[in-house]
Symmetry: C2
Subunit: 159 residues, 2 copies
Amino acid sequence: MTEHTHHDVCTNCTHEHSLGIAQDIARKSGHRWSETRTQVYHTLLMADKPVTAYELMDMVAKKYARDVKPASVYRSLEALMEIGIVARIESANAFVACQNPECNHQHIFLICNYCGHVDEISDHGINRQLLKQAAEKGFIARKQILELHGQCKDCHVEG
Amino acid sequence: MTEHTHHDVCTNCTHEHSLGIAQDIARKSGHRWSETRTQVYHTLLMADKPVTAYELMDMVAKKYARDVKPASVYRSLEALMEIGIVARIESANAFVACQNPECNHQHIFLICNYCGHVDEISDHGINRQLLKQAAEKGFIARKQILELHGQCKDCHVEG
DNA sequence: ACTTTATGTGTTATGTTATAACATCTGTTG
DNA sequence: CAACAGATGTTATAACATAACACATAAAGT
């Protein structure tokens, strides 16, 4: 398998590979790993679109034939978000596996209202401008939640 | 009272005035008005920070000595949002009265993690750039959710 | 190796946010 | 004033999220 930086541009990438990366990042940032986290993360990767905690719970329960409870799922999600490989879509009360776990942690989400798919883009210029605009009001921005709702490429024709 | 365009820069503004504006906007856009909407909107104006639907329900119940139910509050909020005078803060599951009901409907919210206050800024340049970035991915953005969390001016000293 | 400590999990219960469904009422229009 | 669209009241329930406590396990120090 070739070396690469961006997960989303690598057609060779398997979920196992993502999992490996995830564990690396976790260890480097002083987080532990666990079976539940593996299952939750893997399930999110497979989903390839935002999934609510309860949906995720059912998916994990079915896939691994075990009884998972809400608290467990939320705890795993919290850890995965701290590690930086999962993000919460605020406007959907749902979660997605990040497309670029290795690079920036400032996402702009493109959420299709038709098919539900989520794309992730990145523009540090915009992030900087937002910081600046906020600063002019005396506001120090620590986190930016940027979510665009609309119509994705694949939904143009029918839409 | 002097004429003005921006509600937030007018020190003369009363909530009654905001209410008048609200009703005008409602009628112009083909919405009806009602006592419940008046109460919900007025309570939100007084709050001057994001309030959850259930908090709002309790506030209205207490203030107007009546028994309001969740469904009623949510219905009023939905209408007020359609009219464009109330906005939802997605990352807080809460609602605020817009500072500039008359002008643009594209807000950037600055949410203080310490005092909970929300400020509303506006930058069409950023909105345009986001549209453009999205368009490059073949995505037509209809709505932008822009919420910055951090530390406001008043919370710098202690923070 | 063995204790200590911090971290993660299982479980139960409950809190919080949001909507569905259906009957009733009210303002607007013709 | 009839007919209709739009609001409301009410009940019930769905969907999302966390608190609290007991127990288990991995990492770090001795």
